[in-house]
Subunit: 206 residues, 2 copies
């Protein structure tokens, strides 16, 4: 009964400090057939970040070469650095019927929606801007000017949250993970992904 | 943070024998703030059916009186009997922010969608028509002519499954219940029901 499976592409956005990586790390241990697409960036790695988990950290030359060879699905620049989504593996995963999660900025999300109209988008919502600021302070790499700048960006990002299919509050991590897990499970049952079953069952009669 | 909550109306359809009541009974023990709207019918109660669980069994006179008083949201006739959805409590439950599940035939589902455009609809899919027939045989009240008739109706109902938002296969009960539970949890996070959070968080800054 596992024929004609359609993959599921999920966009995840949310302000810096909303907990995207933490939620995704938990989710990866709980959901089967899940692939997390890790972005490329040319910015410096922060002390707490892991290569291939938070980003693939590449040189400017490497990024521009991939761009020239059509290997970048979409990209943006932020604070003078490139951030891009590697195209290669996403389509392959979807063709295999897998669920692919793409962590992406608000602007990039709009591009992906245009490229993959059946994708599902989730906005991870901090409980308040105060809590967001506290979380950013907790990261050793951020100074107060940088935190102010990130909060200003967060306000802009929040103003786009209404464009997403789902809003998941991340106050208590376990709840956010359970919400996200439910969204994956529910979206796999969407009629656009399960329509093949109708004919299968109709054809099952003797 | 629990202000401005919007209720969630879920329509559940599926052929006779697809397991709607069994799934709903399980779900009711697992999901909070859930109300299951039980239909009224004028047909005879079957031996295994419980008043107020499967239906409210009422007389023809009672049904027609409620109809005349505007207490029936929608109704249909089937096999010479009335089947109707009592209007009174649904709107109250939704205003309280509750999740309301309405078990309803395919035809009635179309009426409810028109009345409540933000409702969510789920089609419970038997694994095959053979399994459906076996389940119907297991019910003491069904004879073979009745089973044939129900299978013919099931084929028509199946042909409408594509109109639903979700298709939940009911092969293994636990999976179907978990799928349905995930749909409830996911749909509660839909942006149309969580949009109030955006302004709440934006206003949280000092």
């Amino acid at each position: 009964m596992r024929t004609n499976r359609q993959g599921l592409l999920i966009i995840l956005s949310g302000p810096s400090g909303s907990g995207k990586d933490t939620v995704l790390n938990e989710l990866a241990t709980l959901v089967d057939e899940l692939e997390i697409s890790v972005s490329l960036t040319t910015r410096n790695r922060r002390a707490w970040e892991k290569e291939g988990v938070h980003y693939y950290f590449v040189s400017r030359e490497d990024f521009e070469s991939r761009l020239a060879h059509g290997e970048i699905l979409e990209y943006t620049t932020y604070n003078g650095n490139y951030y891009g989504t590697p195209k290669t593996r996403i389509d392959g995963w979807l063709a295999q019927g897998k669920t692919v999660i793409l962590k992406i900025e608000v602007e990039g999300a709009a591009h992906i929606r245009a490229l993959y109209p059946q994708c599902v988008s989730v906005f991870l919502m901090p409980p308040s801007l105060q809590v967001l600021a506290q979380r950013l302070v907790g990261r050793e790499s951020e100074n107060s000017a940088e935190i102010e700048r990130r909060l200003a960006i967060a306000r802009v990002e929040l103003s786009h949250a209404g464009e997403y299919d789902y809003i998941v509050p991340n106050d208590i991590l376990d709840y956010a993970v359970s919400d996200f897990r439910a969204i994956v499970r529910a979206e796999r049952q969407r009629t656009c992904r399960k329509a093949y079953m109708i004919q299968q069952v109709l054809d099952s009669t003797g």
